[in-house]
Every structure is written in C-alpha cells, then in structure tokens.
Amino acid sequence: MKRVIVACGSGVATSQTVASKVEKLLKEQKISAKVEAVDIKSLGTIIKQADVYISIVPVKTEIDIPVINGIAFLTGIGQKEELNKLIEILSK
C-alpha cells in the first residue's frame, strides 16, 4: 500500500486534520493508501519510506518524493486540483 505523509510543527492539530480529510477523500474515490500525520522533526527519517509528502509547513530540506499542497485541504481553495494530483501519483 502507498504511504502518504503529512507533517506539521507538532503533529497535534493541522497535520492530523489534513490527514483525516485526505483519508476520507481518498476513501470516497475508493483509493487505498496509508495517510499518516507526523511531527516535522521525524520527517527526515519517515520520508524515505513514503510515496507522497503533503506539505503544510515551510520545509527547508530537499524532498525527493512528490509534494502536494496541504493548505488546499484546509482552506478548500485548489483542493480538487491537489486531490487529483494525489490520486494520479497513487494510481501509478
């Protein structure tokens, strides 16, 4: 199963919210994937085992897996486009 990572400063509020929303949206599209909220501090190690990274905080380090704009899932602005992008990556 493909693994999707969402990270925020503490992993308590926004990353959890985005992860649960993305999980719900993917389920509606009948796409199975593991969506996880993580603490930004552990991103470096976890990212190596992930297929997609959903970004909601500015990241200074280089990320060599596809990146999705997570703010779209919070505000709803551009959500459809980001979801389609995510689905395309997960369907590969």
Partner: protein, 152 residues
C-alpha cells in the same frame, strides 16, 4: 459535536499592533490564564515565528495559532475579533503577509478530538457569510450561538 467556543474566551474589538503584541496581551487575560500554564506565551510566539498559521480564503484571512498540549490545561478556543487587522504569515510557505481580522488560538489538550473539530471550524470560517455574521454580532452569546449551529 464538540463545541469548544466559550463566552469568556471571546474577545471583541481587540486591539493589537502586531501578532506578538496580541499574544502578550491575550495570555495575560484572567479568563485565558485558567486554560494555559507557564510557558504558553513564549511557546506560542516561538511556534508562530517558525511555523506561521495564517490561512487565506481569498475573500478574507484568519490565523489559527496553537502549540503543544503540555502548555494547555483544558481544550478550548480563544476567539479574537480584532479592531484593526494584524499581519500573520501564511501557513504553507511563509511567503505572504496576510491581513487577519479574526484569530482563533487553539488550546489543544486532547489530540484525538482535534481533526474533526478543526475541520469543522475551518470550514465554518472559510464561509464568508459566517465571518460577516460574527463580525457584525454585538454580543458574545450571539457568536457562540452562530458557531454552535455549525457543530450540530
């Protein structure tokens, strides 16, 4: 549905020159002090500087500052209607100054209830009609009622 808005944590026509000033003032309010513990003020300012929380909805912008559960005694939300907009940076990229008129400081103790609550809250505040209703509300009770309807 959980509603974490409380009348004593709603502040109307609040004045602040910038985000730091807002955090300093609000953490000294007696009603707020019951919900937070020592270190909350410093923690939330440091967190906002590193990971800003401004959200742009196109028609308006809000900010949802928050910090670690260790600084919080009880789950709640501090809602602040500012008399003049204060600048917050955008959450995703930290690349834009947003004029924010409404700030919700999330006091997170119980992590498990956060996702549903925050999703509902953000969708309520994304709706410009709701924002207008809150903006024009004269008393705190009306605001709690407006928000309560969103969580039923």
């Amino acid at each position: 549905m959980i509603n974490k808005f409380k009348e004593d944590l709603i502040f109307m026509d609040y004045e602040a020159v910038d985000a730091q000033d807002l955090f300093n003032k609000i953490t000294n309010e007696s009603s707020v002090k019951r919900y937070i513990n020592e270190g909350f003020g410093e923690a939330i300012i440091a967190r906002e500087n590193k990971y800003p929380t401004g959200l742009d909805f196109g028609t308006h912008a809000i900010a949802i500052p928050h910090t670690d559960p260790q600084y919080v005694n009880e789950d709640a939300v501090i809602l602040i209607k500012l008399s003049k907009p204060v600048i917050f940076r955008d959450m995703g990229l930290d690349s834009t100054d947003l004029n924010v008129e409404m700030v919700m400081i999330l006091l997170v103790k119980d992590i498990s209830s956060q996702p549903i609550f925050l999703e509902k809250t953000i969708s309520a505040f994304a709706d410009y009609y709701t924002i207008e209703q809150i903006k024009t509300a004269i008393n705190k009770e009306d605001i709690v009622n407006i928000l309560h309807k969103k969580y039923c």
